[in-house]
Amino acid sequence: MTAQPDDELWSAIADPSRRRVLDLLVSNGAASASWLAGRVPFSRQAVAKHLVVLERTGLISRRKQGREVLYQIEAGRLDQATRAMAELAAQWDRRLAAIKRLAEAAHAENKERNRHD
């Protein structure tokens, strides 16, 4: 019926804390878990849990740099989520435009009829 992205992707980005983590990675580029933990109002353990979920859904990936593990955004996957949401919104814009046309036509017709009565 509607373009549905997969549910796992939705639930991953629906969480405000995870969105905060994604946001930091989008604006900063690659970052370590401890760098992220220093910039969010929740615990290091919570950051680690969110990173696991985000990595599982393919929204971020990790690489090793020296002794550090860095996380980075997977732009293609994130873009997929953004586009899916935008498409659902566009569907409603089309429906609202149709409602507007129908209601305004009905209103014009009512006025016309009243004038003749």
């Binding site: 019926m1 509607t2 549910d7 796992e8 939705w10 639930s11 980005i13 629906a14 969480d15 405000p16 969105r19 994604l22 946001d23 989008v26 604006s27 580029g29 732009a75 994130l78 873009d79 953004t82 949401m85 935008a86 659902l88 919104a89 409603w92 814009d93 429906r95 609202l96 435009a97 149709a98 409602i99 507007k100 129908l102 209601a103 305004e104 009905a106 209103h107 009512n110």
Partner: protein, 148 residues
């Protein structure tokens, strides 16, 4: 609850009652929503919407003429729609003068369908920042050329 909620509105040059009829009468709904709408518009009523050769059940939640109308859809056939297995569509109509109406629609529940209950409750109770704002910011950042 703020989450993955779609929120759109439109200003219509027609009075409240005309807009109300357009969004609630099944013969009108079939012109802007589904190809065919079998539905009695009263709270709790179960109906069916057909889109080409596909279709799905719809259940009316709130009917408060002429300002509020809501229904649930996209739930699995044969299941009762509740928060968690369906999407909630809510229309709100606000008059702006005698012959003008602001129509607002929200659709929520996209993200909740596959969640375990505990996670849903935690999420529902959480105060979250605006999804739309996040989306805009993200879209802007992704549109920028990437270095590296």
């Amino acid at each position: 609850m703020a989450g993955l909620m779609i929120e759109r509105d439109v200003l219509i040059e027609a009075p409240l009652d005309v807009v109300w009829r357009t969004i609630t009468e099944p013969s009108q709904m079939s012109q802007w929503f589904a190809d065919r709408v079998d539905l009695v518009v009263e709270p709790g009523a179960h109906g069916y919407m057909r889109f080409g050769d596909q279709g799905g059940p719809v259940v009316v939640e709130v009917v408060d003429p002429p300002t509020r109308f809501s229904f649930r859809w996209n739930h699995p056939d044969g299941e009762e729609p509740v928060a968690g297995n369906s999407m909630l569509v809510e229309f709100t109509l606000t008059p702006e003068g005698d012959e003008r109406t602001r129509l607002r629609v929200t659709e929520s529940g996209h993200e909740l369908r596959a969640w375990p209950d505990a996670e849903k409750q935690r999420y529902a109770g959480e105060h979250s920042d605006g999804w739309a704002e996040f989306l805009d910011r993200l879209a802007g950042l992704l549109a920028k050329p990437r270095s590296g």
